[in-house]
Amino acid sequence: MKRSIILIALFLLAGSAHADIATQTATMQAEVLDIFSLEFYTDPNVLYSTNIPFTGIDPTKSLCYADARAPYDGKSDTGVLCRSNLNVVWYLKMSTSTSTPSFPLANFKYYMGQPWNRTTGAPADGTLSKPPAWYSTPTAATVVYTAGNIDKTNTPYGTLATLSFAIDPTGLYSGVSYIINITYTITTAP
């Protein structure tokens, strides 16, 4: 009987030791910088960044492509990478101007396909202002793409918009160096 009481006492002691809980709470805080950026992107299929060359275009063609380009070659002239973590809708705008007065800007055409969200690895969920086709480039800053819901925060890899350009050589002179300036803007204001 004495032995039993001792065992029960030991058991109770052990049981009460097992029930001890020690808890520690750590507080973590993370702060993320605002990202709202635009940069050129190139790879073997996205050829040019700050300058797109059209060297010695053939004026007897109805549409002339940039150097090293051909129709349906699967490449793009340029890519602009739009990054934002502001979680608001953003807009990609484009405008063109020329410092060569004899160049008719209506002859400068662009083609833009659906952008690619590099963070999700899927087509971006935003909206092109015009379906993919050749259009004259706008002279005033004009929205060409509106971010979708997923695009609103697309860090770290951003949304890649690829564009190709072509020149309608109608009326262009030989012996003249034409310069066209393209400005891309990413903005939260439509």
């Binding site: 300058n51 797109i52 310069i179």
Partner: protein
Amino acid sequence: MKKILALTLVALFVATNVSAVTTLNQSATATVISVLSIEFANTTDTTFGGNAIPWTSVDPALGNLIKATGHQATKADTAVICKYNGASAAWYLKMSIAGTLAGKVKIYMPQPINRNTGSVTSGTLAYPTPLPDTDWPVLPGTATTVYTAGNDTVNTPFGTFVAMDYGLNPTGMTTGTTYSGTITYTITTTP
């Protein structure tokens, strides 16, 4: 305290409504190769294209302006397409005929058409288009400007369509003789 809180709220509100804008610049540069070319229009647009223009079994009694055999009233006998994109000068179309038909072939030229715009050009024909039922000028034997470009000086990519009909003056031609001639068309920036 209330005032400070209100100011802080206003400041926060303003901060969250500032538009974010980032800009990137790019240029495209273009140069264009020089084009000064002349070619025959095809037989869809003309009766003979670049082929020979025939007069077979000419009846000298029909007068001094006999149209080519197979001539169609709805098409020009032939046409040349002239293309040019030089910045500094106008271009000129010159023509001449050599051979035993020299001096016997007459020419009718309507105002050329700029194929880029589909409209007649403002250039100058050296031999104004003859009125109906009037005689046509004789094609010169030496290279002579027949057309000077106007608003079609730069006309790439599609060029200027210069059409011609030809007529034959059989005066003095003898039966049993085959006559031939070679017409040369030249586009040049030298008048």
